[in-house]
């Protein structure tokens, strides 16, 4: 099989996989994560109550995808199992995500401990910039492996929200700059995800009768 034929089949496989991502649930999950982080930051800044409970909601966020896929996507799109190539691609994406989270945690801890020498004049901006860069690269890489360009936008919003925090803190009188920045970013992503989901529901109406037509 020559290169052109291989590319045609790759395009078919890519389209098939992209169709399983066009429900917007993964984007909704990331929007929810950012909103939860924003609300948690607001609670922390205002001292309403212990903000650590908020992070539990982040652990529950995958339920958005699990329940959405099960009750909305699968009855409309059908079931598919992809081949080994796609499974390997998904595995690579998971490794990148895990490595990125670990690297981010390490940088955060080293920065907080003062191990990484950062001049005081730029300190308020350096850590957010590093975190923003890592967030964007990680989410963009996810988008690449999942053939989902919307994750580049999500990465940009995550990075932008992170960069907005020190700017808002230094130049505004907001009670919770992090709360405002992160929640705004989360709302933007959620609006995009809702649009994707609405389009999916329009293009894939729920079947009135089962479509497992017996073979003739």
């Amino acid at each position: 099989m020559d290169t052109n034929e291989e590319n045609d089949l790759q395009a078919i496989e890519r389209r098939a996989f992209q169709s399983t991502q066009d429900d917007g649930f993964l984007e909704l999950q990331f929007g929810a994560i950012l909103i939860i982080l924003g609300i948690t930051a607001y609670i922390d800044d205002t001292g309403i109550f212990n903000h650590y409970y908020g992070y539990l909601f982040i652990l529950a966020s995958p339920l958005i995808v699990l329940l959405g896929k099960r009750y909305i996507t699968l009855p409309r799109l059908g079931r598919v199992r992809f081949g080994l190539d796609r499974q390997m691609r998904q595995a690579k994406m998971t490794l990148i995500l895990v490595a990125s989270v670990l690297a981010g945690l390490m940088i955060f801890i080293l920065g907080a401990m003062g191990v990484i020498p950062i001049p005081n004049t730029v300190r308020p901006y350096v850590m957010p910039a590093i975190i923003a860069g890592m967030l964007f690269l990680t989410l963009a890489a996810m988008g690449y492996f999942m053939n989902n360009w919307r994750f580049v936008i999500i990465g940009a919003v995550f990075a932008g929200s992170e960069l907005a925090i020190p700017i808002l803190r230094l130049h505004t009188d907001l009670v919770s700059p992090a709360g405002v920045a992160l929640t705004t970013g989360g709302v933007l992503i959620t609006i995009m995800a809702a649009g994707v989901l609405a389009r999916f529901l329009r293009d894939h109406p729920r079947q009135e009768f089962p479509t497992e037509a017996p073979l003739a």
């Binding site: 389209r15 098939a16 169709s19 079931r79």
Partner: protein, 110 residues
């Protein structure tokens, strides 16, 4: 008699592999292509990918199954039975052979 047959305009066409008529039908080619790039899928997914009607898809799948290119697997998802369709090894070989034959025929004309 073979000797009475007029010479082929392109003699090489006699040695070019024959086109598999089962796969050659555009809708069935599309079905085979989708099944080739995935492991398995159910009827609804194939219908969404190909845009065919239920009856049309069912008819083409039946022809492919009769030819031994597609097999039906019954599974259980929870307590509900579910039918998944996948290419057989024969189907994958036939698809590869079809694409090679088409490529050979196209190269004849170039």
């Amino acid at each position: 008699m073979p000797e009475d047959r007029p010479p082929a305009v392109i003699p090489a066409i006699r040695t070019t592999p024959a086109i598999d008529r089962i796969i050659h039908e555009p809708a069935r080619y599309q079905l085979m292509a989708v099944l080739y790039v995935i492991e398995s899928a159910d009827f609804l997914f194939l219908r969404n990918q190909t845009g065919m009607t239920d009856g049309n898809l069912s008819s083409h799948l039946a022809k492919l199954e009769k030819a031994g290119y597609v097999q039906v697997k019954k599974e259980f998802v929870g307590k509900k039975p579910h039918t998944m369709l996948e290419l057989t090894a024969k189907g994958r070989q036939a698809f590869d052979a079809y694409r090679a034959a088409m490529q050979a025929h196209l190269e004849l004309g170039s």
